[in-house]
């Protein structure tokens, strides 16, 4: 039944976790290794490919990224780089995590890399107390344990409170 995709003007339909359907050109979908493998192995027998872990808002963002990268020629690397940095600008943490998880699930390496880099940039140079606050990480160490961990890696904490 994979041929049905080819007959359908090289398009396929993706369905988000909240039930919204997205019609995607095949060359755009191929940015995702997951979809590529599904198409290669003919296992997408259904006309609609469900993506139960990805909501519509995130999937729209992901497909926007894929379309830009699929359509750009390799000579326009500079343009793609500025697209990438604009793409994640001003994105809130919740949306960024949805995106990194979607990119990981759909195996879109370029998107996974830039989203991970953005999260890393948020951690970089900040004292750990601030990192805990930003990411809502609950400190479950006892004060003695925490002191021991700091002592274990003392060199990395020099210059930090």
């Amino acid at each position: 039944m994979a041929s049905s995709i080819e007959n359908n003007n090289e398009k396929l339909t993706l369905k988000s976790s909240d039930g919204e359907e997205f019609l995607v050109e095949k060359h755009v979908a191929l940015q995702s290794t997951l979809l590529q493998n599904m198409l290669d192995s003919d296992c997408s027998s259904a006309d609609v490919i469900p993506l139960p872990k990805i909501d519509a808002r995130t999937l729209a963002l992901v497909l926007g990224y894929c379309k830009k990268h699929a359509d750009a020629s390799s000579s326009k690397q500079g343009e793609l780089n500025s697209f990438d940095s604009e793409f994640l600008k001003d994105m809130d943490m919740g949306a960024l995590f949805n995106l990194v998880l979607a990119a990981n699930f759909m195996e879109i390496k370029g998107l996974l890399d830039i989203a991970a880099q953005k999260i890393a940039d948020t951690i970089k140079d900040k004292p750990h107390q601030e990192v805990r606050e930003i990411f809502h990480v609950e400190n479950d160490y006892t004060p003695e344990e925490e002191a021991a961990v700091r002592e274990e890696n003392r060199w990395a904490f020099e210059g930090f409170p």
């Binding site: 995590f97 998880l101 890393a120 970089k124 140079d125 990480v137 609950e138 479950d140 890696n153 060199w155």
Partner: protein
């Protein structure tokens, strides 16, 4: 399951491990190590980092060599599992015995990308454990001496090799390169000890060298598409009049008995881009350009950086002659300029 302590908005602590690794490897090592104190879940996340990069961002001002070494030991002691990439590139680091201990630890980690830059003092002799880094794809080394044991069979997966001020015994150097069958990029910088080098690398696409060479001959390089040559003379005495000394460039081509052979070698037929620096217009150089243009059928671009301004009559005549050379490739663009690029 007791879950009430877990904050629902804490997503970062529950990411798939490969995503966490991806985030941690984008951090400077100090920042990655500091995540250990966030919570119990984070204590040992950094120890399986796939890449360890020790560069100037790693250190704080005021750390002396002993402190730096202690920290490197500490990091290697904690690290668990395989390591794809290891980089030690810290400007004032000199040869010392600790390096051998680190390489011994690293030899168990299946490293694919190894960068090791030392400076000052003596070249460091690479210990024998290093020759068991069989997964290497990228090797980038400065100020080291390689003495592979007779049993060394080459790095069978090596693709990129950069040597800066590296010495290998004369009997081993050709063998070292020819026993890396997948080698695609080779760059030799200030490797004076690599004179009379014979290169046998069937997959070589790029060959760059910077420094002084007696001769280089390309024995078996059918895929070579890009060559970058910068020859520098450190030793020309200043008082000698310019006209009487051949530039190192000219010496290079004089010392290449294979010029006649080179154009027969299929490797040159595959050249697409050529950049020639410090061109003086001397006869052997003109001949070399003529040969390259006449035989490189897929040449797209040749850039010649002349060492002086060419506004005089002589310069004009030279450019005229260059542009008249027949070109085997109809697409070949020839650019002659006097603005020698730096670096």
């Amino acid at each position: 399951m007791k879950r009430k302590k877990r904050s629902t908005s804490d997503i970062i602590s529950y990411l798939p491990s490969n995503v966490t690794e991806n985030i941690l490897k984008d951090l400077p090592l100090r920042d990655a190590v500091r995540t250990s104190v966030l919570s119990r879940k984070w204590r040992y996340k950094w120890v399986t980092l796939p890449e360890l990069v020790i560069n100037d961002k790693f250190f704080l001002e005021g750390w002396d060599d002993e402190k730096v070494k202690a920290v490197i030991y500490q990091v290697l002691l904690f690290h668990r599992g395989p390591l794809i990439k290891f980089t030690l590139r810290y400007p004032p680091f000199e040869s010392c015995l600790d390096i051998n201990n680190w390489i011994f630890v690293l030899s168990t980690k299946n490293i694919q990308d190894f960068t090791f830059y030392l400076q000052g003092g003596l070249c460091h002799e690479i210990p024998c454990h290093f020759y068991s880094f069989m997964k290497l794809r990228d090797l980038n080394v400065a100020k080291c001496v390689f003495k592979p044991p007779p049993t060394f069979k080459g790095f069978s997966r090596l693709v990129n090799l950069i040597f800066v001020d590296v010495t290998i015994s004369s009997e081993m150097r050709g063998l070292f390169i020819s026993s890396c069958p997948l080698l695609e990029r080779l760059q030799l910088t200030d490797c004076a000890a690599f004179d009379s080098l014979e290169i046998n690398a069937p997959n070589l696409k790029y060959f760059g060298f910077f420094g002084i060479f007696e001769s280089v001959s390309l024995e078996n390089t059918p895929c070579l598409a890009e060559i970058s040559v910068t020859l520098v003379s450190w030793y020309t005495p200043l008082e000698q009049p310019e006209e009487e000394t051949d530039s190192e460039w000219v010496k290079f081509f004089r010392s290449l008995p294979a010029i006649e052979d080179m154009h027969l070698d299929r490797s040159f037929l595959e050249l697409q881009e050529v950049e020639i620096r410090h061109f003086s217009g001397a006869d052997p150089e003109m001949l070399f350009v003529k040969i390259l243009l006449a035989y490189s059928v897929v040449l797209k671009k040749m850039v010649i950086w002349h060492e002086h301004e060419m506004s005089d009559k002589k310069g004009f005549a030279m450019v005229k002659e260059l542009t008249r050379f027949p070109r085997a490739s109809s697409d070949a663009e020839l650019i002659v300029d006097a603005n020698v690029p730096t670096g």
